[in-house]
């Protein structure tokens, strides 16, 4: 219907600006769910969320309620959370253990962990009908494709499309950087998910993630407040240094707008992008030195230096994941509607790294990413205000013009020019991918 009314959605996007309806029209939102979220690779969860056979975790992919489940053979399946009989939701809780099989709470049909029908009561009543154990309509439907990269499980609801590795491309660094910082090369989830709902379109959140101009404007209040306490604590401390967690907060104010321009964004196909620069965190305290020693033992000095030299602040994997690999946390973005977006926020432990290293990134998780966040409260306020503003007839376009025309394009990647870290290239890159997905919609 909409496709008839609006023949070419890619007309909504120009290289340096985008129509406001892209954020506010519920019909465009429905098409996005069909053409983007329910086709591309979406992050389901980490394999350590479901360590034992029968463990499951529910997850929303586009509009589809799915569940990620561990089988007795150790394999992880991603299934539609739905009984094929009468459509009853199979697992009503967010997570849990389903035992040796799934059992529907309505008519007791049971299914193996891979979704295959196991048994039904009164099977003889179906003699001569279309029911049959080998009829795929009688099993729980599986996600078309599931892939696992270093423990991070993704699913795609479309049979065709690039492999996960092709899709991620160079943005795969998000998971390599996170895992490589562990002496064992592995991370495991810290078993707690913070969930926060934003009253704004999902793209507004994604566009903010690599917007290097906003922190010093939006987070000035927390940055200043933390800087004052940091100075006071540093004066009192023996070594003259306050705990690193204060620096994580004060950097939002002490890194001024012009300094953010020193960073760089690199933009990849499919809308992914990376913001380089890491608030200058390569401390030389005893905890870090002890960690360095373990890492050098595990990897050798040369490889260790390569690992810690990776200089990333954020990796955005379009359309649904924001990863802060050096702090071992990620935010998965689940659109709930055109103006409501859920973020699921997870922290990971570097397996084999000393406790203080875990605690350091935990402080960031608690202070920045918890529901009592000292940082995101002001972001979410802005996201809501952006969504309100875009709902008005006060203008037709959203501008992404900062440093436009000065991007450096090479082999499919777009880099911002020198000292242009605050460039709106990431937003331009995301909207370019959006137009490709939406314009090609069948």
């Amino acid at each position: 219907m909409l496709a008839e009314r609006i023949p070419d959605l890619s007309k909504f996007v120009e290289p340096d600006r985008v129509r406001r309806e892209v954020y506010t029209d519920p019909r465009i939102h429905e098409l996005e769910m069909q053409r983007i979220h329910e086709r591309v690779w979406i992050y389901c969860g980490h394999e350590s969320q479901v360590p034992k056979a029968g463990d499951y975790y529910t997850v929303q992919i586009g509009r589809q309620p799915m569940l990620m489940v561990r089988g007795a053979d150790g394999k992880i399946s991603v299934l539609y959370n739905r009984c094929p009989h009468r459509g009853n939701m199979m697992c009503g809780d967010r997570s849990g253990n389903t035992g040796e099989f799934f059992r529907c709470s309505y008519h007791a049909w049971t299914f193996k962990h891979d979704g295959k029908l196991r048994s039904i009561p009164m099977e003889s009543a179906y003699a001569g009908t279309r029911f049959g154990k080998d009829n795929p309509d009688c099993s729980m439907k599986r996600a078309a494709r599931v892939e696992n990269y270093r423990g991070f499980v993704f699913a795609s609801l479309a049979k065709d499309g690039p492999s996960l590795k092709e899709f991620l491309g160079e943005a795969i660094v998000a998971f390599d950087d996170m895992c490589d910082r562990s002496p064992s090369g592995e991370v495991e989830v810290v078993p707690n998910c913070f969930r926060v709902i934003q009253h704004s379109n999902w793209k507004i959140f994604l566009e903010n993630q690599l917007d290097a101009l906003h922190p010093s404007v939006v987070h000035q209040s927390t940055g200043r407040a933390a800087h004052d306490v940091e100075k006071m604590l540093a004066k009192k401390a023996k070594g003259g240094e306050a705990p690193l967690s204060y620096h994580m907060l004060s950097a939002f104010a002490t890194v001024t707008i012009d300094k953010w321009d020193n960073f760089q964004t690199i933009n990849y196909p499919y809308g992914h992008c990376v913001l380089t620069g890491y608030m200058g965190l390569r401390p030389q305290d005893p905890d870090t030195l002890a960690y360095d020693k373990i890492m050098i033992k595990a990897y050798g000095r040369k490889r260790f230096e390569e690992i810690v030299a990776v200089n990333i602040h954020h990796v955005l994997i379009y359309p649904g994941l924001s990863v802060q690999s050096p702090l071992q946390q990620l935010r998965a973005v689940r659109p709930l509607g055109v103006d409501r977006t859920l973020t699921e926020i997870w922290h990971f432990r570097l397996k084999g790294a000393p406790e203080p290293i875990y605690r350091r990134s935990l402080a960031y998780y608690n202070l920045v990413n918890s529901p009592a966040t000292l940082i995101n409260a002001d972001d979410l306020e802005n996201f809501w205000k952006v969504h309100q503003g875009l709902s008005s007839d006060g203008g037709d376009w959203v501008s992404f013009g900062r440093h436009f025309g000065r991007d450096i394009e090479k082999d499919g990647r777009v880099e911002t020019g020198p000292n242009m870290g605050t460039s709106e290239a990431p937003m331009r890159g995301q909207m370019k991918a959006w137009a490709q997905y939406m314009g090609n919609g069948k």
Binding site: N192, S221, A225, N366, D378
Partner: protein, 158 residues
Amino acid sequence: MKSQHAVEQFLYGQADLLDRKLWQEWIDLFAADGVYWMPPDASYKTWDGQPAIFAEDRNLMTVRMNRVLHPDAWSQRPLWGTNHVVSNVMIEKEAKNGDVMVRSRFHMMELRRDDVRHFAGSYMHQLKKTKQGYRIKLQRVDMTNAQAAYDYVLQVWV
């Protein structure tokens, strides 16, 4: 009976400071090493080294206070306010020196612009008796809706 009344007055007074946005006075109810802790789940045994919605000493409380008082705390511009009701006050332990461990229940209604939210749960206070009155060593806040998705966030203590 005497400590029951004194403890109740203390808890009511603490909640009243929040509703009146008297942040410094509220912080001053904590002992020098006092901690305000809201675990994400009732099963947590300690705030130390664990995910926490809040786990704040007086220094972090000061950061939070100065943030909300900063003129550029954008999210503080709109009208907002809270109303706490504290009840079911039960003293669990009382030491000879007058220190007490007390459990209570709270209900907080919050208005922000035109939106109303409700948060409810239990408080566990470890109170130290001093010449100036009770001071909080640890306040544990177990919200019934701790694990529910947060519609927006919490900006100050509950």
